[in-house]
């Protein structure tokens, strides 16, 4: 099963070659056709999104992303199937939040929630309520938002922060946080709900933390960070100390919410610049800066393209087209980047 280092090198070289070919200079827009392909590949009839990169499991994050894309594509039937499955299979905790992980063999095997999954689901419901003028979606969203606010929003060092899950992210006085769980546009939508002031503070805190959580030569945010009682941030123990698959979403969410300050996008543009915009490594160890041989996926490159534009680095990244067997996460990131770019007016 182990992929040899050499295979990987060949893989990234091939990627570089593909990127150098002309004809793919523009990121693919997210449209009806894109959604149909996405649904064919990842949406099962019962209404769950399959994480093809992870042995076919499903999780609250996937359901949230699927629901967001379904709303964006105007596919209400698919949206209802996704939401129905999510309610039946994941919202079994009794506190209004979703269990984060479901496996075909064992069902819910870990009842802990993942706050970003819950946020994505609630945000998708709010957007659906808007698009299809359906109060029931809004009510459901409000319930999730309320549950999140009461169980996951906590105050630390004068900041309002979001715990990544109900259980296991407090180490004494120190919190373990995930910068990529700051889904800024969702947070803004929650802040606009009645009694949503604390969500506004969460946004403010997110920007402060992203300014503090800059490590290593590229000044990148870690996938998992700590915040102690004095407000000092660190790279969390017990996780791979790296910038990678999680934190790549940081610039995506910032851009999607209309942030344009190059300061917040420069670290990602610097990383891309260092690797010539082609075989960007998927992860960077922090603070050391060792990069993996694994290349960033198409979806990650799509995020970088966005980040580079906002950092003022121009079109430094060429995003190759999605491969026929592109996995769930990469495909999702690519589509989300397109949605974010559309909302910023960068791309059609």
């Amino acid at each position: 099963m182990t992929v040899s280092r050499r295979d990987l090198l060949i893989g990234s070289a091939a990627l570089g070659l593909a990127a150098a070919l002309p004809g793919n200079l523009r990121a693919a827009p997210f449209d009806g056709a894109a959604w149909r392909r996405y649904a064919e590949r990842f949406l099962l009839p019962e209404g769950r999104i399959v994480d093809t990169g992870n042995k076919g499991i499903s999780h609250s994050e996937g359901q949230g992303y699927g629901m967001l894309l379904a709303v964006a594509a105007g596919d209400r039937a698919a949206f209802d199937r996704l939401w129905g499955w999510t309610q039946r299979m994941l919202m079994v905790r009794g506190d209004g939040l979703a269990a984060w992980r479901w496996t075909p063999d064992g069902g819910v095997t870990d009842r802990n929630n993942a706050s970003d999954g819950d946020m994505l689901i609630a945000w998708a419901l709010l957007r659906a309520a808007e698009v299809w003028q359906t109060e029931a979606y809004r009510t459901a969203a409000a319930g999730i938002v309320k549950a999140l606010a009461s169980g996951l929003l906590v105050e630390q060092a004068g900041l309002t922060v979001l715990l990544p899950g109900r259980d296991g992210f407090r180490k004494g006085e120190t919190l373990v946080l995930n910068p990529s769980y700051w889904i800024f546009p969702a947070i803004r939508a929650f802040a606009a709900l009645p009694g949503g002031e604390r969500w506004g503070k969460l946004s403010d805190a997110g920007l402060v933390l992203l300014s503090k959580a800059r490590f290593g030569g590229f000044q990148l945010p870690p996938d998992w960070m700590t915040l102690d009682a004095a407000g000092t941030v660190g790279i969390a123990d017990g996780f791979k100390k790296q910038y990678g698959y999680d934190a790549v979403r940081v610039p995506l969410y910032l851009a999607w919410d209309g942030y344009r300050d190059p300061y917040y996008f420069r670290p990602f543009a610097d990383l891309v610049a260092k690797f010539g915009g082609t075989a960007v490594p998927a992860t960077v160890s922090l603070p050391g800066g060792t990069t993996t041989q694994v290349a960033a996926s198409v979806g990650m490159l799509a995020v970088y393209r966005l980040a580079c534009r906002l950092a003022g680095a121009g079109d430094a990244v060429t995003v190759p087209p999605l491969a026929p067997d592109e996995d769930y996460y990469s495909t999702t990131l690519a589509h989300l980047s397109a949605l974010a770019a559309q909302s910023l007016g960068i791309d059609p």
Partner: protein
């Protein structure tokens, strides 16, 4: 504009100062200075990278901001900086007049955050503002100041975690972050070079600091910092430079000059110590020895004299040793110098002199009591002390540390001729040695009651009787009552009765020295308990308080290390363990160093 008059005065003062060529900023007219190859120190912040204001059009954003908040010092500095950029520039006359709101956005809130050290908050606020008004751009000056503040933070954290190359890189990217006004960072840069084995660049960095930063104290501190990495020759050069280069008015650089001599003494004494302890015999040349004797004499350095005394004592040159210990004791009387003196006299066979030297400290200092055992067969505090005849049976038992025998003798003595306060007190001490603290406490209490009934012997205990009162400035001699109270306190400590003892201590009849000792022990016990309870901040609080009373022994030093470790103050924990380990490396200290190191660098 609440205080226009005062602010105008500040402005005038600022211009005057600049004209006089005084202060750090006046030196900056040359612009950037090379701190090291590839790294430049900006004594004054440089104009923004790539967007320097065009000639004749200087960026007055910061100037107006400082004027608005009334920060005279920085206003003055900014005026100097702008003058340096454009000699023809004059401060605007309307500096203190209310400004029409500039089109776009008022930067004051961001500057306020920056001034308060809230750099991340300033960044967040700016990003939010830019989201709301996409056409607005913060001023170059604001961005520059933010970059500098962030780089300074980055240099600090990289150096704290020993990522030396990142220190160098960060300094190269933002040279303003290692300027004289951020001297600590300049030191960190030099240290990074030294750790990266780029000795020349380290030296260049130190040299730039001592020749450009104007304050004498800063130059002196730099020389001490540099002593860790530089050779004696380089230090000499650094000192010479620091004492003469670019003198600022009103600064006295003589303290810079003496830094080298102090370092020299320290180094020699260290080698002397090594030679005395036999680690490196003969490591000291005759020239070194005579130099150090000169320095110690010049400075009347008691500790130095004691070190010399031990050096000679080790060589059995008792006369020379005695003379140095005498010197030390004359300059600053202490039980440490007296201890050496006692042993030196003893080496010379002058036992009477030795006893006389010990007298002020006898019974007050375990050092002295120990030293006296070399002079006389150890004598207990029992009945026989004042007798002219040879040591009693009890004294001999005590000399052998045969405390069971001590108990036997005292019991039969009491059975034969009844108890005395002195006997009961001695019984208390022997019971303590036998790990029978509850009975010891009772014995001291009994002794106290007995003493109260022995009016003839009055305040002085039998054991301590007959000596002349202590000289002024020396520790107060304990009375028998105080000695008994002290014995009870020691016994209560041994039984774990810390709460009761803490409560009773303020009222106890003990000498201040005795009280301080018990108090320190109580705090050590409580610190241990706090560690077990995982109240780590309490551990530090108690140890800090204890340290005020008496130096911290190594076991408590290790305790302190673990408390810091558990507070996740890993760098401090590492430094703490390292300092204990550097003095005497034991399994415990090595464990602390290793575990902390592995935790910091995830080297499991």
């Amino acid at each position: 504009m609440t205080r226009p008059v005062l602010l105008s005065a500040l402005l005038l003062a600022g211009i005057a100062a600049t004209g006089a060529g005084n202060g750090a900023w006046a030196q900056s007219s040359g612009g950037a200075r090379a701190l090291a190859p590839g790294v430049k120190v900006e004594v004054a912040p440089a104009p923004g990278s790539g967007s320097a204001p065009a000639a004749g059009k200087v960026d007055e954003t910061a100037l107006r901001y400082y004027a608005r908040i009334g920060d005279g010092e920085r206003l003055e500095a900014e005026i100097a900086r702008l003058r340096a950029l454009d000699p023809g520039w004059e401060p605007p006359k309307d500096l203190f007049a209310p400004q029409p709101t500039t089109p776009g956005v008022d930067e004051t809130p961001f500057w306020n955050l920056l001034s308060a050290g809230k750099v991340a908050e300033a960044r967040a606020a700016i990003a939010e503002q830019r989201r709301k008004s996409p056409s607005w751009q913060p001023s170059d000056k604001l961005l520059q100041e933010l970059d500098t503040a962030e780089s300074a933070g980055r240099i600090r954290s990289a150096s704290d975690t020993r990522r030396w190359q990142e220190v160098v890189d960060a300094a190269a990217a933002h040279p303003e972050a290692v300027a004289c006004n951020r001297l600590d960072n300049a030191w960190r840069l030099a240290e990074a070079y030294a750790e990266l084995k780029q000795a020349d660049r380290a030296f260049d960095t130190y040299r730039t600091i001592v020749s450009t930063c104007p304050k004498a104290k800063e130059r002196r501190d730099t020389i001490f910092k540099a002593s860790r990495y530089l050779s004696p020759d380089q230090l000499r050069e650094l000192t010479a430079l620091g004492a003469t280069a670019n003198p600022a008015k009103g600064e006295d650089y003589s303290t810079v000059r003496t830094a080298e001599a102090e370092l020299e003494t320290g180094r020699l004494l260290e080698r002397l110590g090594a030679a005395s302890s036999g680690a490196k015999p003969g490591a000291l040349s005759a020239a070194d020895l005579s130099r150090i004797q000169g320095i110690v004499r010049d400075k009347q350095d008691a500790d130095g004299a004691i070190a010399l005394g031990w050096y000679f004592q080790k060589q059995k040159n008792f006369a020379e040793a005695q003379s140095w210990f005498s010197q030390a004791n004359g300059w600053a009387p202490s039980d440490k110098s007296a201890e050496g003196l006692v042993l030196a006299y003893n080496g010379l066979g002058e036992k009477a002199q030795a006893r006389a030297a010990a007298a002020p400290w006898k019974g007050k200092s375990s050092r002295i009591d120990q030293a006296l055992k070399a002079v006389d067969p150890p004598r207990g505090a029992g009945g026989g002390r004042s007798g002219p005849q040879g040591p009693s049976e009890l004294d001999r038992a005590l000399a052998r540390q045969d405390f069971a025998e001590c108990l036997s003798i005292i019991r039969s003595s009491i059975a034969k001729s009844g108890p005395t306060a002195a006997l009961l007190q001695q019984r208390g001490w022997c019971l303590l040695e036998m790990k029978r603290p509850s009975e010891a406490e009772a014995a001291f209490a009994e002794a106290q009651a007995m003493a109260a009934r022995e009016p003839a012997k009055g305040g002085q205990s039998a054991g301590a009787g007959g000596r002349t009162p202590a000289a002024a400035g020396l520790p107060q001699k304990a009375t028998a009552a105080q000695e008994n109270a002290y014995g009870q306190a020691v016994a209560r400590l041994a039984t774990g009765d810390t709460v009761g003892l803490t409560r009773d201590l303020p009222r106890a009849n003990m000498t201040p020295a005795q009280k301080a000792e018990i108090r320190a022990s109580l705090m050590a016990t409580e610190a241990n308990r706090a560690l077990e309870d995982k109240r780590y901040n309490d551990v530090l609080r108690l140890l800090d308080a204890r340290k005020e009373l008496t130096p911290e022994p190594r076991n408590l030093g290790i305790l302190r290390g673990w408390a810091l470790y558990n507070l996740m103050r890993f760098d401090e924990a590492y430094a703490q363990f390292k300092s204990v380990d550097d003095r005497l490396s034991t399994e415990e200290s090595r464990e602390g160093v290793t575990i902390t190191w592995k935790t910091i660098y995830h080297d499991w």
